[in-house]
């Protein structure tokens, strides 16, 4: 292919890496404005979108162009003026490509925050400088740490409305830092901003000479995420067995899947679970040819030197580094079903990596108050948006790790067997 000279935006399409982040904030903290500002400053908003938002704002009688209309896409959201569901948005700079999981801040949407945080590399929490930390800021910080999002950014917004008062900022920053310390919070960055005016968003603002940190966009572009991945524990959940029935390809048997963690190489000794049989990696195939190594998040096909029985739901790992093969699971769970609570004795379908089984709730150890972190040990059930620690027993063993060590092999969902709805998001604490 010819070597064209590409503009920075265009050249940015190759070789960049990907950062997924979730945003959280209470109502009216300016989250939609901030997202609108990020999209605007990275030239992601197009003229026709802006025109549509301008005319919609005018017809609603808004006094200014309401950037929230850019992100609130559903009829019901525009009618109610709130965000009711996770939306995904995209922008890129020459360094990085970003996926935003834009999650609503209302307490009744805790499940959406959990959903957005489950895949996030970074969480961005917004507070209003005039109000300081509120219950929801603490809740969002807690959910971020529960979901093990590796990086956390607190944006102290509306600094223009407190005259860029350093003391206001310091007070909020100190309070949040000491709260985050209790949570075992990950890497924390705090930035004073005005989303409305664009201060400290795309570049450092001269309104805050006392602030020496990066602008928000600079931080998002440079935060180091490469070492967040687990490259130590080889975990390859088998997704699909490829056995072409064809006259041109004969005797091919490959195990297709996405590497959850660790690095696989041809020649490596491997252990297949739950069978416990060992073999060696003969080759790691892709449609573009064999590769010398596979690591997260590559989707590949592994062939072994021995014919052993492996099927979907099985796991390939290393002989001296294997997950638990366990039917008794202790986990934190966020309950997501509005029609019925999680109850002791309740039976559900559990989906964990590529393995699906049935499970019964053996106990609710406690319900956690997500605002105070108080544990209520008398709780017998969990209602919508409640979080607690439970015990499960599964019909077949799960090949499981602790969630804090591995987000892929430590996370699971529960599905209601009657309605087929996804009703719970679980994070494994202990499996045996």
């Amino acid at each position: 292919m010819s070597q064209a000279v590409l503009e920075p935006e265009a050249a940015a399409g190759r070789g960049m890496d990907l950062l997924r982040f979730a945003t959280a904030g209470s109502v009216d903290d300016g989250k939609s404005t901030l997202i609108g500002r990020l999209l605007y400053d990275t030239k992601t908003i197009f003229e026709d979108q802006l025109e549509a938002v301008e005319s919609a704002s005018a017809s609603r009688g808004d006094e200014y162009t309401n950037l929230a209309l850019l992100t609130d896409g559903l009829r019901a959201e525009r009618e109610q003026g709130i965000t009711i569901d996770v939306a995904y948005r995209y922008f890129a700079t020459p360094r990085r490509k970003f996926i935003i999981a834009d999650t609503p801040g209302h307490i009744q949407y805790t499940r959406n925050m959990v959903t957005g945080a489950s895949t996030a590399d970074l969480a961005l929490i917004l507070v209003d400088a005039r109000k300081g930390l509120v219950e929801q800021s603490r809740r969002h910080a807690f959910l971020t740490t529960l979901l093990r999002v590796p990086h956390l950014v607190l944006c102290v917004n509306k600094m223009d409305l407190v005259d860029w008062d350093k003391e206001v900022y310091d007070r909020i920053a100190d309070e949040f830092t000491s709260f985050a310390a209790k949570l075992d919070a990950p890497d924390l960055t705090i930035i004073p901003i005005s989303a409305l005016n664009g201060d400290n968003i795309a570049s450092r603002s001269d309104k805050s000479p006392w602030y020496e940190g990066p602008s928000l966009l600079h931080h998002l572009e440079h935060v180091h995420i490469a070492s967040d991945r687990n490259l130590v524990d080889v975990r390859f959940p088998v997704q699909y067995v490829i056995r072409p029935q064809s006259t041109t390809v004969t005797d091919y048997r490959g195990y297709a899947g996405q590497v959850a963690s660790g690095i696989l190489k041809p020649g490596d000794e491997v252990l297949a679970l739950p069978s416990g049989l060992t073999s060696k990696i003969a080759s790691i195939d892709t449609a573009d040819g064999p590769v010398e190594e596979a690591f997260p998040p590559m989707s590949v096909t592994v062939r072994l030197t021995d014919e052993i029985d492996i099927s979907r739901g099985d796991m390939i790992c290393r002989p001296n580094n294997a997950p638990a093969v366990a039917q008794d699971i202790e986990a934190m769970i966020c309950w997501m079903d509005e029609s019925a609570p999680l109850r002791v004795g309740g039976k559900y379908t559990i989906k964990h990596t590529t393995r699906t089984a049935r499970t019964v709730v053996r106990g609710v150890q406690y319900r956690l108050d997500v605002n105070t972190l108080h544990r209520d040990e008398s709780a017998g059930e969990l209602a919508l948006n409640e979080i607690g620690r439970i015990k499960l027993r599964t019909t077949v063993p799960l090949l499981a790790d602790e969630y804090r060590r591995n987000r892929t092999t430590g996370g699971f969902i529960l599905i209601d067997e009657g309605t087929n709805r996804t009703v719970g998001a679980g994070m494994i604490i202990e499996a045996r």
Binding site: M1, S2, A4, A10, G13, R14, G15, M16, D17, L18, F46, E47, Q49, T71, G73, L74, R75, A76, I84, V86, Y88, R89, Y90, A92, K97, V114, T115, S118, T119, A226, Q239, Y240, I242, R243, P244, V249, Y252, A256, G257, Q258, I263, A287, F295, P297, M298, S299, T301, T349, K351, H352, T354, T408, G411, F412, I413, I415, N420, R421, T422, A425
Partner: protein, 303 residues
């Protein structure tokens, strides 16, 4: 070996790996999946991803074209060639046939985008497809920004935006009762620019209408429509030959071209990177109907 090996993948490789994972999940968990194939660039990219997901085996599901009858001939030709090369089974759901048999009625304005939906649903029912891959992307439109990778549809094919299943980690819930189905969108996280970069990287051939060519067009509401059997000149309109290309391929009566000199994939990438108008805003008459036109169509079962 180097100690500082980064073990990183580019964003395009990450998107590809995610899409392949999703296609394999569907194949593993559904009885009768099919891929919606229009001959447009997004569905062409999906076919490439499907090839990769199941190599060295063949693509293990049929493709379905919901044929509005309002086609660009270059696109139909491409469709048939591609299907033959890959040895795929092609199912055609014909809107014209549905009009002839009375399943749907032609709209007064003659456009067929909206009446595709019942035709799609009837074909899905006839062939008992329980999962349909679609090439929709969340960056296309604000209702689509809310769409799940696995989008649950009831027995009428309807999407209920307020009643979607949460999607956590890469654990997709495809459970459904008979008659219900799942629409699957492996390209959800891709943008228009990603699609073009991927087409360049993989050297995927496209129908010629995606590249700049001279065509007789008429300017209508600021958009350039090809003059053909579906778009006829109205009183007072004149046609002209302009250098154009298409950013999307849809119902030929509603899909407009953009003025362009980009006759190679690299030039298209430059233009797409520099454009200030969205793909749909520039080329789709149907999305201009109302602020929630896409949401309303999706509720009825559009993909």
């Amino acid at each position: 070996m180097s100690q500082t090996k980064p073990y990183r993948v580019s964003h395009l490789d990450a998107l590809e790996a995610e899409s392949i994972f999703i296609m394999r999940e569907v194949m593993a968990e559904f009885e009768r999946p099919a891929l919606l194939f229009s001959g447009g660039k997004d569905s062409i990219v999906m076919l490439r991803l499907a090839e990769k997901a199941f190599a060295p085996g063949r693509i293990p599901f049929p493709v379905m074209h919901v044929d509005t009858g309002h086609n660009f001939p270059e696109v139909l030709e491409y469709r048939d060639r591609r299907v033959a090369t890959l040895g795929l089974n092609l199912v055609i759901a014909s809107v014209q046939e549905a009009i002839d048999t009375g399943l749907v009625r032609e709209l007064p304005d003659g456009t067929r985008n909206r009446i595709q939906t019942p035709v799609l649903l009837a074909a899905q029912e006839k062939y008992r497809f329980d999962a349909l891959f679609g090439g929709a992307r969340r960056d296309e439109e604000k209702a689509r920004a809310k769409e799940r990778m696995f989008s649950f549809r009831d027995e009428f094919g309807q999407w209920d935006p307020k009643n979607q299943r949460p999607e956590l980690w890469s654990l997709y819930n495809g459970r459904h009762h008979p008659g219900e189905s799942i629409r699957v969108f492996p390209l959800s996280n891709w943008t228009e620019l990603d699609v073009w970069h991927y087409i360049a990287k993989e050297q995927i051939p496209l129908p010629s209408i995606y590249y700049a060519h001279d065509r007789e067009v008429v300017e209508r509401n600021g958009m350039f429509y090809a003059v053909n059997e579906f778009i006829r000149l109205r009183d007072g309109e004149t046609s002209e030959v302009r250098r154009v290309r298409y950013r999307t391929v849809g119902d030929a009566s509603q899909t407009a071209a953009v003025l362009s000199e980009a006759d190679t994939v690299e030039k298209v990438i430059d233009e797409v990177a520099a454009t200030r108008i969205t793909e749909r805003g520039a080329t789709r008459g149907d999305d201009r109907v109302s602020e929630a036109a896409m949401e309303d169509r999706k509720r009825e079962g559009y993909f």
